[in-house]
Symmetry: C2
Subunit: 196 residues, 2 copies
């Protein structure tokens, strides 16, 4: 219908998200995306070389949003230990709200994540960099001890230690009655380990 607007990668990505949301990852087709946009599917291939590339771009966009949402917690003016707890809590809360609020959409993105491990690896690196920034600040503030090896390695350890509370593979556990306690326990453990 709306050939009124020019066809951009951005518009295609929006349409793709809509189609994924509506039909799920198994049934979403490039033809569906083209239909939503009112163009032929050949036009979509002018902007994305393959269906896989299209899905990858959607995945990247989705993950990027998490990075942006967490940025304030890296930069806030509080002491680093509080910022770390804030960052970890924000990440957990974010993921959990998404998982709880729309389980089907979450399942859809889990499939996409499984298809695009390279994108996910890059995303994880970004998150680990955010943690590393907080750790460096914390060391500067005299709150955190010097890292055993380097900030990156310790940041990765913090990220891995909390995996159970941000990795969508564990989303099913996040509605258990005692997750909050388990999460708090891990955060305490991490804080103890880092303390100067």
């Amino acid at each position: 219908m709306a050939a009124t607007e020019t066809l951009t990668a951005e518009r295609i990505l929006e349409a793709t998200e809509e189609v994924l949301r509506r039909y799920g990852p198994a049934k979403a087709t490039v033809v569906d995306v083209a239909r939503v946009l009112g163009v032929s599917h050949g036009s979509v291939y002018r902007h994305f070389r393959t269906k896989a590339a299209l899905r990858e771009a959607v995945t990247e966009r989705w993950l990027e949003r998490t990075i942006v949402a967490l940025r304030p917690h890296v930069e806030a003016g509080e002491p680093a230990d509080e910022r770390l707890t804030g960052w970890l809590t924000a990440l957990f809360t974010l993921k959990r709200r998404k998982a709880g609020g729309d389980p089907e959409l979450m399942a859809t993105f889990q499939v996409l994540i499984g298809e695009n491990s390279a994108v996910v690896d890059r995303h994880e690196e970004h998150l680990v960099e955010q943690i590393a920034r907080i750790l460096e600040d914390g060391h500067g503030e005299g709150l955190f001890a010097a890292p055993e090896r380097d900030f990156g390695t310790t940041a990765r350890a913090v990220f891995d230690a909390t995996d159970r509370f941000h990795n969508p593979a564990h989303a099913a556990d996040w509605s258990a009655p005692d997750v909050e306690d388990a999460f708090t326990a891990i955060v305490s453990l991490v804080q103890r380990a880092l303390r100067a």
Copy 2:
């Protein structure tokens, strides 16, 4: 063929493991199990109420083996901090060897694990109890600080923090070149957190 021996639950479980190993979780049938044992499938139902119950029992047996293999690391005469590192390393090594050595069998058991979360929960509780025992000993030896809440909660936090290195859901990551470092980093983190 061998109706020479009496049909026991134990023999059925062995046959079921063999069938699962050979055909995988999707194609393994009760009829297959009965054929291996040389009996009619009706006889299998005398010992296990349903196919699901049979699979659950196989899962339980498999998990039990891990508990047994780790027991020595709980009881060894070394200092508790070394026992903890030994226990965590043993668990990781055990899982990783299984995953690397026979990926198909691992995939099979991942399916079974997914089907039997109640059994897995009980199994995890056992493992957490083993950790808690080491933590209590370590506190007695003056190596570990008093737990923030109780030994069980801290033990669970230690278990969760190392999830990435024993949960089969992450098996795909265990062949990465830097897993060893990541594992060592987590263990250091945990040890720092516990130290008196």
